[in-house]
């Protein structure tokens, strides 16, 4: 029995990757949930908004790198984030002015907005490929590891290694900071309160003198920041390819709906539920049980619930279960 090795293996292959992935999903889901809560539609263009914001960050990063500027051991992309957010914000505000405002003035039903966002998604899709191409882009630099496999093994003498990539640590730290700022903004500032009021009851908010266009503009600004940060963290930690960002739409929506659409707290919880479910259900427990159980009790099989091929099916199944039994989500958002 080697409980320490079991713990390290589980941390290395389940807890750390799932925490980083969960943070990325949570940031993405927060954007979706804010749009749903305030603008009252499901924004299908969110994955591609992330891709476009990240594209701006990547291009700025390359510019900084060629100018010889870097961020020491941290990725240069963090320095480029403000530029990316600004570009993404301009794009979203422009899209709102061109597309969504028209339907808002007509008081169109939500399904029209959803379909309009689908059209926006295709336009963004093409725009990203036009600007940066459909291939993989690498833009991570700086120190790769906080704790490397060899370093950990040498320091502890354990068989299993624990690896923490710099990008994973950054992802979690940045996500915590962003969420803290967002909650402070929504709960403590005047603008944040007016956004929540508008979300709770549009007519009452209008009667009390809240300017709807201002609320909408602030929402897009926050969404631009969230989407760009989420996209950049995902690209740094994994890799940037426009198509994978489009595919992220499913787990992001699953996270938002599981948590309860319109509930920021729910979006975060949902992100972690989806991420941990995807990773733990497809992780074979053979090695961990081998260490944790007494000698002679080790399993022969893989003890794997689902093969990794079915990773994406997991978010679908959770989505279905939640919609069937608790349509408002874990944190009682709006039912869909």
């Amino acid at each position: 029995m080697e409980p320490l090795n079991a713990l390290v293996a589980l941390t290395n292959f389940v807890i750390i990757p799932a925490t980083a992935y969960g943070s990325q999903l949570a940031l993405g889901a927060l954007g979706v949930t804010l749009i749903y809560g305030i603008l009252r539609f499901s924004n299908f263009a969110h994955g591609d908004t992330m891709a476009l914001g990240t594209t701006a960050v990547i291009l700025t990063t390359w510019g900084l790198q060629s100018a010889g500027i870097n961020f020491g051991p941290l990725p240069t992309a963090l320095l480029a984030l403000p530029v990316g957010i600004a570009v993404c914000a301009l794009l979203l505000l422009g899209t709102d002015r061109l597309v969504y405002r028209f339907y808002r003035a007509k008081k169109a039903v939500p399904v029209i907005f959803v379909i309009a966002s689908l059209g926006v998604m295709f336009v963004y899709n093409g725009l990203t490929r036009f600007i940066i191409g459909p291939e993989d882009q690498r833009f991570a630099d700086g120190e790769r590891f906080l704790v490397s496999a060899r370093g950990f093994r040498e320091a502890t003498g354990l068989d299993e290694a624990l690896v923490i990539r710099t990008t994973q640590a950054i992802t979690v730290v940045v996500a915590v900071i962003v969420v803290a700022i967002l909650f402070w903004f929504l709960n403590r500032t005047r603008t944040g309160k007016s956004m929540r009021a508008y979300s709770d009851n549009e007519d009452l908010a209008l009667l009390s003198g809240i300017n709807p266009e201002k609320v909408v503009a602030y929402t897009w600004l926050i969404v631009a920041a969230l989407a760009t940060i989420a996209g950049t963290l995902y690209g740094l930690d994994k890799s940037f390819r426009p198509f994978t960002y489009f595919q992220l739409l499913l787990p992001i929506f699953a996270a938002a709906i599981v948590g309860g659409l319109g509930s920021p707290l729910g979006a975060i919880a949902g992100g972690f539920v989806i991420a941990f479910a995807e990773v733990t259900i497809t992780y074979p427990l053979k090695a961990v049980l081998g260490y944790a159980l007494p000698d002679g009790w080790e399993p022969d099989g893989l003890v794997q619930l689902l093969s990794t091929d079915y990773k994406f099916a997991v978010s679908f199944v959770i989505l279905l279960i939640v919609l069937l039994f608790r349509p408002t989500g874990l944190f009682a958002g709006k039912s869909v």
Partner: protein
């Protein structure tokens, strides 16, 4: 009048058929468009080099010349490949086909067109093990080895390195699945253990879940039956990052300069093998290709030269360009006994056969046909030393 018309039509048909004896037409059906379009031109050039060599020698069947007719197999569209081949046989009257390149369309062309029409097909590059058992009436051969053969090579190399437990991951398509099945079967027969055989999808951003599964299953070496430009490299990256594996075995889809460009000395001590030969024929062929104005080192170009050569030598041995007759002679001219024939020596070979002698065509890829008529396969074994590919031997 009706009789006269019929008679003249028959005469016309007869003369047309007679005219086809001279020259001999061979079809070259390759994926000039589609996923292998970058390889098809040098493959076609290889096949046509052999044809022009034979034509110029004037030694084939009392001085018959050879014409090539090209058609597009598309590599992936079985219907298009079948239609193109049909046209070659019924319209152009080809008596043999060099092709196709990809395993899927090759199988379709064979069963839908070549077998019903009784035409010989020699593929230079279809490697799927499934084609070994294809219903072919003795009409299908390939100068490329089956991936079943690669399964044996992988097992041999791993066993010689003292590896008894492997984890196996493969790209989720016909190539990856076929190769993985071959490796798994051979390795188990040799007494080894395959702890897990898991597919991975190409083009994903993140392979940590896949690597988590592979790592949990364990194994001394991770065999990555994928593509170096695709998920294969993603798997290796994630495995290195998480400390799950540090030694890898690389099959043919992974062995390339891109591999060491991606990982450098991080994969020191890993090894693998891809098709290749140190036979003198390879060098002779490359020189001939350079002179003819194309790059003979491109994959499967040499195999295409050999495929066309085998058809023509078999015709000479049979004394006929009728596929139902010369199909019996393909194996004879490809294998020992007989005088060894290298690239550029086709004239000598044709002459020896005409004089009643026996030839053993070695060609550019050291052809040796085994089983139902597929190349035994020559592999180049490599290791990664100090961040560079190093050739350690041939087998």
């Amino acid at each position: 009048m009706k009789k006269f018309l019929l008679a003249s039509a028959a005469t016309f048909a007869a003369t047309a058929a007679f005219a086809q004896d001279d020259p001999v037409k061979l079809g070259v059906v390759l994926g000039f468009t589609g996923p292998l379009e970058s390889l098809a031109p040098t493959m076609a050039a290889g096949a046509e080099l052999a044809m022009s060599e034979v034509s110029e020698s004037g030694a084939l069947l009392d001085g018959t010349s050879v014409d090539s007719v090209e058609a597009d197999s598309t590599c992936i569209d079985a219907a298009a490949a079948t239609a193109a081949t049909e046209r070659l046989i019924t319209g152009d009257g080809v008596v043999g086909i060099v092709g196709a390149d990809c395993s899927g369309v090759t199988g379709a062309m064979l069963s839908n067109v070549a077998v019903p029409n009784g035409i010989v097909m020699i593929s230079p590059s279809a490697t799927s093990p499934g084609l070994t058992d294809a219903e072919d009436n003795g009409l299908f051969f390939r100068t490329a080895p089956s991936d079943a053969r690669q399964g044996e090579i992988v097992t041999d190399i791993l066993m010689e390195n003292g590896v008894e437990e492997i984890a196996l991951t493969y790209t989720n398509n016909d190539y990856g699945k076929g190769l993985a099945d071959a490796i798994e079967a051979n390795f188990k027969d040799a007494g080894g253990t395959v702890t897990i055989a898991a597919a991975h999808e190409d083009g994903k951003a993140d392979y940590s879940a896949e690597v988590g599964a592979l790592s949990a299953a364990g194994g001394e070496v991770l065999v990555v039956a994928g593509y170096v430009d695709q998920g294969g490299s993603g798997i290796v990256r994630a495995a290195l990052d998480s400390g799950a594996f540090d030694t890898f075995y690389f099959p043919d889809g992974m062995v390339s300069q891109a591999l060491v460009d991606n990982f450098g000395s991080e994969i020191n001590g890993s090894y693998g093998a891809n098709p290749g030969t140190d036979s003198p024929g390879a060098q002779i062929y490359q020189d001939m290709a350079t002179e003819a104005g194309f790059d003979g080192t491109q994959p499967f170009s040499a195999e295409a030269y050999d495929a066309a050569s085998l058809i023509l030598l078999a015709m000479q041995a049979a004394g006929s360009s009728d596929p139902s007759v010369y199909k019996e002679y393909v194996m004879d001219v490809a294998n020992a006994p007989g005088e060894e024939i290298l690239p550029g020596e086709l004239e000598t070979g044709l002459q020896i056969i005409a004089d009643g002698g026996d030839v053993d065509f070695v060609g550019a890829s050291a052809v040796e046909l085994i089983g139902p008529g597929e190349s035994a396969g020559n592999y180049r074994e490599i290791t990664i030393t100090d961040g560079e590919l190093e050739v350690v031997g041939y087998r």
